[in-house]
Amino acid sequence: MTADAATYDLVVVGAGPAGLAAAGVAARAGLRVAVLDSGARVGGQYFRALPDGFRAARPWALHHGFSRFVRLRDGLDGADVLLNHRVWAAGPAPGGGFAVHCLAGREERAGTVTGARLLIATGAHDRVLPFPGWDLPGVMTAGGAQALLKGNLVVAGRRVVVAGTGPFLLPVATSLAAAGAKVAGVFEAGGRFALAPRALTRPGKAAEALAYGWGLARHRVPYKGGRAVVAAHGDGELTHVTVARVDAEWRPYRGGHETVECDVLAVGYGFTPQLDLAAQLGCAIGADAAGGPAVRVDRHMRTGVPGVYAAGETTGVGGADLAELEGLIAGRAVVADALGVPAGTGVGARPEPGTGFGPGIRSEARVGARLEARRRRLTGFARALLRAYPVKDGWTSWLRDDTLICRCEEVPYGRVKEARDLGAADARSIKLLARPGMGWCQGRICGEAVARLAGEEPGPPRRPVAQPVRLGDLAAMDERTSDDDS
């Protein structure tokens, strides 16, 4: 399938639960839809699927709610699915609508897909914090370990420590253990029971949490709160970590340290939405419940830029259920806007499969209202989780002068401090003086840490391109989609 010269009613970037749900709704309503994803298979992070080469008899064993994925995947109804397409820029198209620039395949063939409307469903990546030894091979993100397993059937390590903060540590630890790794411990920097009272307000989630708890118990995996991995050690590769007992601000107690042997550390401090495309397009970016950046949307998932919608983690980290629901709402809004009727009405009297609404409900407006109400509930739960697992400032006490802050440009903490001493008062000035965030990853990995070291809330990204691109491809474009210089 070629990506060139196609014009669609809707272009969806991201084939996770949010993008798939939206694309399905729009395609089933008769719109011409393209779904682009950099991955080789649809599903996104949560529903990351195994290659067919494994011929798995029980592919659902690695996923909660696999039947939902099958429904999403099989409900695309004629949408063009463009896999292995990395979108590096998006902007207004000369003739109206949007031009989405991508690189296809290993050969990175440059192409452009245009559409009247655009949905940004690019999901999130793991949020990580620097600590001594965090760049040793064997230290990975929690999501990365999960991706290796779900997408490649590779168990990250033989003896694994899982650490960081947030409810995501539990599924990572249980799936690693179920796949045969010895999980030496799960170390939650926050309080151990932060989740419990909140989870009980959502019955489905309480059951899921119990299942994980049971899974950990069955594999005899210790789960300890108020503990953080404050250093990783090894001669060239990871062999052990230092786990410290930490106070409520995450400062280690003196003497509360233990050494845990492991060949892999899976570490994650929550997620950061991938907002490059939204920022390029000029969508307003606000703060989520924990102060992190997220695209601002109205109740129909429209961003402030007419024709651009956002759904899933890009609008605030909330997990796969909420992402799928937001995709559904966004898809309905796209259809309504394309038909010129008020959003939340007029998508056709048929209730969407998978929404839990029986065929007895005939009124489109009522379906819309119930979807919105459900979104409010799930968003409330997601916010409570974000507030229950904040990043606390004490992590900076784990740093030493030679701890790398920026892995790409190899900028140690000492140099960031020097920049601050020279008067660099904000993240941007620190970046200009000490160069953290100026390398390959464009600050995706260290941006959060640099912002926090500058005493700022992590802001929206300012990247001219969402993916690295050859200069020739850049020059071939009629106009730059962004004039940002950072």
């Binding site: 798995a56 793991d126 091979p137 990365g144 590779v154 168990v155 796949a179 060239g236 390959w440």
Partner: protein, 95 residues
């Protein structure tokens, strides 16, 4: 290790493996696996050293965000091993 394995967990009956060569050494791949996953599975945890400090690097984010896993395949430099699906006969060189 317990008796559990990821293959048993999902009931995998994988297609025959093929080989890629990493600095001349054969590494087995199940069709569909990425170069990074195949290397990691074969116990190769690091395939790049950094410009300044000569630090060793392998997989970190696993999803194409961090660029730690850069690798050269068939002479094409700077591919992200975690995103690049391996093909039979690929020549992978590390630096």
């Amino acid at each position: 290790m317990t008796g559990a394995s990821p293959y048993r967990l999902v009931g995998a009956r994988p297609e025959p493996e093929f080989e890629v060569r990493v600095d001349g050494r054969p590494v087995p791949v199940v069709p569909g696996q990425t170069v990074g996953a195949a290397l990691h599975a074969a116990g190769v945890r690091t395939w790049r050293t950094t410009r300044f400090g000569g630090r060793r690097r392998g997989l970190f984010c696993g999803i194409g965000v961090c660029f730690d896993c850069l690798v050269t395949v068939n002479g094409v430099e700077n591919l992200r091993a975690c995103l690049t699906e391996a093909r039979p006969g690929d020549e992978v060189t590390t630096s």
